[in-house]
């Protein structure tokens, strides 16, 4: 028997399941023993209901600096211009 994480991975890897309509997916044999939380999440089309099974955490998604040319360089004296001394690359956004 697959648990919810295994089932999610199985859905993600199966072309027939990945884009199935929610009503078809919840009736699929692969989900015969799926948890109520997963079935609700499928019907609602998002993962909010999975919080009932896994809990919820706020995940920060941004992984780059949003004020380039200042915080991605060494600390500067107060009042320095926020201009980089060299061209910024993709790794210094």
């Amino acid at each position: 028997m697959l648990d919810t994480l295994d089932t999610l991975e199985a859905i993600g890897q199966d072309a027939g399941l990945r884009y199935a309509a929610p009503e078809d997916l919840t009736e699929a044999s692969a989900l015969a023993e799926a948890s109520d939380a997963l079935k609700t999440a499928i019907r609602e089309g998002n993962g909010l209901a999975l919080a009932n099974e896994f809990g919820s955490r706020v995940m920060q998604l941004v992984q780059v600096n949003l004020s380039p040319g200042r915080e991605d360089e060494e600390p500067e004296e107060e009042g320095d211009e926020p201009e980089p001394s060299r061209p910024t690359g993709p790794d210094s956004l």
Binding site: L8, I11, G12, N46, F54, L61, L66, P90
Partner: protein
């Protein structure tokens, strides 16, 4: 010292690091090579998009350490990212095979993967990056955009305000992280109305207010579908836009032929025929 992780020999146990992407959608995008890096590592660090994805990772390795706790209310992001580099390098220096897992592609809109590889190589450790399916990749598929058709420019929203970028409205323009524009920490999350007013002012230098733009979010769980909304540019400052949503501008002006280079190309062709 080679930069190849695989070239490390058993006789000379040395730390190494591989930065890999899990792609955007759980189960759908993880490459066999990324999975192998995860499974062969001594320790795995994770900065992923969803706590379910993090739990999924924990199925692949018994020592997955989340990087999420390093964020802090009001704490500059760069402080967090430098801490990530340091905590990963601590394990590399201790001789561990480290795998750092990021959502999407580890080298796109992510500072610390590039930095940790730079630092590791400078110290003589093997380090490499494995690509993952990015939000950009999903965007092309879900919105039916071919970047080769008219050209496609990618800009981070805050950078568009900080620097005098030139927008090319004859091609697609993809504006990332509009929901976080001007936000240096995680204190204010996605509600920069004033910042977005400034962004609108900048954008109207190149676009009409009634231009229809697309707000896009790709699926992170395989039970989701992409979220695609359309609104006019003038609605942008007050629209609900989350950190993971992207604004796509369609070509707003026709491509203009470069007659000078077309003539020179023709001249070259004629020379080759003659």
């Amino acid at each position: 010292m080679t930069s190849s992780v695989n070239s490390i020999t058993a006789e000379t146990p040395r730390g190494s690091i591989a930065c890999v992407g899990v792609g955007m959608t759980l189960g759908s995008h993880l490459t066999p090579l990324a999975r192998s890096h995860i499974q062969q590592a001594d320790v795995v660090f994770a900065a992923v998009s969803d706590n379910v994805v993090e739990m999924w990772l924990e199925r692949m390795h018994p020592d997955v350490r989340s990087l999420q706790p390093y964020y802090g209310e009001g704490k500059p992001r760069m402080v967090t990212y430098r801490e990530w580099v340091e905590v990963m390098m601590t394990e590399v220096r201790a001789g561990k095979r480290v795998c750092a897992v990021f959502y999407g592609h580890p080298g796109i809109f992510a500072w610390s993967p590039h930095k940790v590889i730079e630092v590791a190589r400078a110290e003589g450790f093997a380090a490499r990056m494995e690509p993952g399916i990015s939000a950009e990749d999903c965007l092309y598929a879900d919105l039916g955009i071919d970047p080769g058709k008219f050209g496609c420019q990618h800009l981070e929203a805050s950078q568009l305000l900080y620097y005098d970028h030139e927008i090319d409205p004859t091609g697609y323009v993809v504006l990332w992280q509009v929901g976080m524009v001007g936000n240096r920490s995680i204190a204010r999350d996605g509600h920069g109305g004033g910042h977005r007013e400034l962004l609108l002012e900048r954008l109207t230098q190149d676009y009409p207010l009634d231009l229809e733009v697309t707000i896009y979010r790709c699926a992170t769980l395989p039970i989701e579908q992409p979220r695609i909304r359309r609104l006019t540019l003038q609605e942008l400052p007050h629209a609900e836009i989350s950190a993971e949503e992207t604004v796509v501008f369609p070509p707003a002006k026709p491509l203009k032929r470069n007659r000078r280079f077309i003539e020179r190309l023709a001249a070259l062709d004629n020379e080759q025929v003659a």
